[in-house]
Symmetry: C2
Subunit: 197 residues, 2 copies
DNA sequence: CTCCAATGTTTACGACGTAAACATAGGTCG
DNA sequence: CGACCTATGTTTACGTCGTAAACATTGGAG
């Protein structure tokens, strides 16, 4: 019995889905536990059977975001030939994600407590980063990158891409179209890779 | 007549100062208009004589942040010799600012509405960016940077530095000390500049 | 078939953002 | 010098939120 009985079936997943949708609509500021419950046709206290508090629901939403982001980066990288191209594609996918889901993206990096209080979200984030590291390592092995410590190079690339994603999705650059931002991102990554050779 | 009479003297400034302190203590989540009023020894509705709503107070705090940030970048840049060094120093100051005031920094870039609803904050942010552009132009004139469009180069540098600032101040890198982050930031900027020559 | 643990609901509380009605004081004009 | 007007604070009030506690329902294990 999924839908109209006293018990819901899979309320937890429904709450995460409704929460994600709500965040996309109104941003993290307007995001409300009670509204999420309303949209799930459930009393305002029901979420507490699945999440200890509000931050745990947003952490679950963030976690799903990292999983999604990692998957999109992997998919984008797979489509390309050389290690260097794969790295650029993955970075592009990162920026693309931030542009399509700006509020979701913001939530993923907003909760600084995630680390200790929400280990699952943290693990998903680390996974996404690990994917990036492996792409960097592949570039190094193909002699496309200087032989700095892997973590250092990966962090530099991550920061470059993350900065573009954050600023662009927050409307801080004046670039109007998505395509312009993505073209800019590729240009930035190419320049960075040149400097790291 | 500053302090203990019915009228306050300069409540607006006091509210901004108290708000800044509160944000440093509890972050943007715990930030509350009523607590700011309490700390200013004023009723909870008094702030409404100076700010239309909560977001306008946070915008004022953000504005002050951008002014401060621009000043610190200017000061850091002035201390160095070559245009290239000046650019690196300014970027370092940017990261340093984010590390010392992580919550303030977050607030500065969190309010996506700033643009239309809070033009003063927007102007302060644009000022800070303009300072960066001028440093980039100086590098180009000294033939330290390739002759890409100035805005493009400035945005690349900004994004690099902003990414480091955001991720490091959010604890996303595993770097433990401030010094380690700053050293990393310099390394990243040097690499980037190499790629842009 | 019965009963229990899991999962929802109701009710309640204090804090918050905000609006409206009210109070005070400090500078302006007679 | 004194009355008043407008700036700036205060009080009171309302609806919403996060959260806790007490209560209700139900699907499945014995």
């Amino acid at each position: 019995m999924a839908h109209d009985s006293y018990h819901h079936g899979d309320l937890r997943a429904a709450l995460v889905a409704a929460g994600l949708e709500l965040i996309r609509e109104v941003g993290a500021e307007g995001f409300t536990l009670r509204e999420v419950a309303r949209r799930s046709n459930v009393s305002h206290a029901a979420p507490y059977r699945h999440f200890r508090d509000k931050s745990e629901l947003t952490a679950a939403i963030a976690e799903e975001g990292f999983t999604l982001l990692a998957a999109e980066m992997r998919r984008a990288a797979k489509a390309a030939g050389t290690p260097r191209q794969r790295l650029v594609r993955a970075g592009r996918a990162y920026v693309h994600f931030a542009l399509r889901r700006p509020e979701h993206f913001k939530v993923m990096f907003a909760a600084r407590l995630d680390a200790e209080r929400h280990p699952a979200a943290r693990r998903a984030a680390d996974d996404a980063f690990a994917g990036l590291v492996s792409l960097v390592v592949a570039c190094q092995e193909a002699k496309q990158l200087r032989d700095l410590p892997r973590l250092t190079v990966a962090r530099i690339a991550w920061a470059q891409v993350h900065g573009i994603a954050t600023l662009a999705s927050g409307g801080q650059f004046q670039l109007q179209t998505r395509a312009a931002v993505l073209a800019f991102a590729e240009q930035a990554m190419e320049s960075l890779i040149e400097g790291l050779r």
